[in-house]
Symmetry: C2
Subunit: 249 residues, 2 copies
């Protein structure tokens, strides 16, 4: 029995998110079905975390166990030949039997792209949040590091149906780095941490927008964290600007 | 009555091409319906040329006549507020009454993108032809200029249902420049000319592929032109790598 570790990129636009669902196309379900075609085995690959409908990944990590005789090196091409072009397997490696894509993760990095110019090129529409309205960008940039450190992120967490079942009950997470920067027409947020709660990055972005509009000041972030109340923070930003960039083990 | 000139960008992936059709989403039909919502007038914008299903545009040009009192400057935002994010109006200008998007065009430029690396990022899949197989790229680059000049392009033309009705009967066109270049993982073709026949750029690309595979030599291009026979040239390359880049008047 091998424990295979997949590194995956996907365009989440046409999927109902990572997690398998009975009547919707999901990344997990699509990969499971491609694995079944190759190995004849019914497995559900376990991801480093779920991504929501419309969220993209540059390097999601997932594992599955197989007794198939297919050499590890052949899985990349075999899977990519079956998968839709919106999902690509970048790498397949043999992992230790106790390696777990979510529990073994030490650091996850997400990115959020906001397109700031008046007209968003049609080729970017699926991949950025188009927000052409006035924003105090220096205030947003200044607010970002207030998230760094160990905090209870309840104010930024959506109610999670999985919580307590398989996922940790605590809403305390550690953020290693949190920063915004201007890249040509885009305002880009990059955040790394030990783990992220349901909708957390999108809720952070929605809160940064309130800072950009002047509704909040950068110094309000610690108060919002302390409130441990979802209504203290901003709205959930759209899914299509969000990328799971990578997972470190 | 104003003659308004639109400059448009679109992601052709989800459209059945430029030209209006009864039961399919087309660019022309989508724009006509947005104009109708603004002006209350039923008009069919006339493009510089039709693009096929899946073909993209960076700056297509189209005109429509209007008696509406909406100021020209307001059309960009008004149209973009209605249109899907896959179609963007970049510019709206008042043109002379005798300006015709197709007949007044002096030069059109198309680009074709071939992605050469083994794994095509999911974010590019709609926007390039993924061709990871071996190609003699220097031979392709060498073949390109053989198309320049005035030629009968019958060998590269699909049978066109519109031909002779509204379009010119002759298959003679002038190509001002034709060249391939490597841009990181992409092999990119840029071609400018007085006009292009149905499927012409895609048929040229399919023929360049035969040169890259060694089936044809660069010096075979003049012979293929002289044959004036579609079967002398290569297959039609996929639509999704093709872009109408701009139209000069």
């Amino acid at each position: 029995m091998r424990n295979l570790k997949l590194t995956l990129a996907y365009d989440g636009s046409d999927f109902a998110g990572w997690q398998v669902q009975p009547d919707a196309a999901t990344i997990q379900g699509t990969i499971a079905s491609a694995i079944a075609q190759i190995t004849g085995e019914t497995v559900l690959p376990q991801g480093s975390g779920r991504t929501d409908a419309g969220v993209h990944a540059l390097a999601q990590v997932a594992t599955f166990a197989t007794e198939s005789s297919v050499p590890t090196a052949n899985f990349v091409k075999a899977l990519n030949d079956i998968l839709p072009s919106s999902v690509r397997v970048l790498k397949v490696e043999e992992a230790a039997s106790d390696f777990h894509a979510r529990k073994s993760a030490r650091n996850k990095t997400y990115r959020y792209r906001i397109f700031r110019a008046a007209i968003c090129p049609p080729f970017l529409a699926r991949y950025v949040w188009h927000y052409p309205y006035p924003l105090d960008e220096p205030a947003i940039i200044q607010a970002a590091p207030f998230l760094e450190g160990e905090h209870d992120f309840t104010s930024f967490a959506a109610v999670d149906p999985e919580r307590g079942r398989d996922l940790p009950v605590s809403n305390v997470r550690q953020i290693f780095s949190s920063h915004w920067e201007r890249q040509q027409d885009e305002l880009v947020y990059t955040v790394s941490g030990s783990g992220f709660l349901h909708h957390m990055v999108r809720n952070l972005v929605g809160t940064f927008i309130l800072v950009g509009k002047g509704t909040l000041q950068p110094e309000d972030i610690p108060r919002i964290l302390q409130a441990r109340n979802r209504s203290a923070a901003g709205a959930t930003a759209p899914a299509n600007g969000l990328y799971l960039v990578n997972v470190d083990y």
